[in-house]
Symmetry: C2
Subunit: 109 residues, 2 copies
Amino acid sequence: MNTDRVGQIAVIFVSRRTGADEEGYRAASARMDDLAARQPGYCGIDAVRGSDGVGITVSYWSDDAAARAWRDQAEHAATRDQGRERWYDWYTLTVATVTRGYAWTRNWA
Amino acid sequence: MNTDRVGQIAVIFVSRRTGADEEGYRAASARMDDLAARQPGYCGIDAVRGSDGVGITVSYWSDDAAARAWRDQAEHAATRDQGRERWYDWYTLTVATVTRGYAWTRNWA
């Protein structure tokens, strides 16, 4: 049982891309990944986007103050504004406190 | 501000497909979606899989007892065994309690 994330904050971002400005979106997305990883309290990220433009990104933070500090980071806030102007049809953001977890990996024997 | 999910349990399942038995996987996945939706306390699901085989599924439950009841549902448990035998290289499962949330939708004015 992997309990490494117990007590961490999971920020679940579900979105659909407009399809507009793919180049600008990719650059901003890579920049946000870099910036987030340098924020205090950053604990990792899982991100997937499907062929229909819907994506889920889950970022993990040591505590709620760290998650809020990333939300309030100036360049991140400015990039969110661009996201609403250009890149997303819709999104939902759900913040949750981790209570338990498991991990499994195939043993390629 | 969308606070509909505050207090719900988010079950975050991140996995990578082996690529084996695509047909069996798809049938089981659809069956699990149907079964989950009929479980008491089911509050919805978000799921995405990318072209690299990594997927994220977040299911939402009214409370922890409902999330555990789905975990313990017999057909679901048997299908998880098949997942470890055939369909997944690895997965992580993270359970978290929702504390806040937001939603935004483009106004196509």
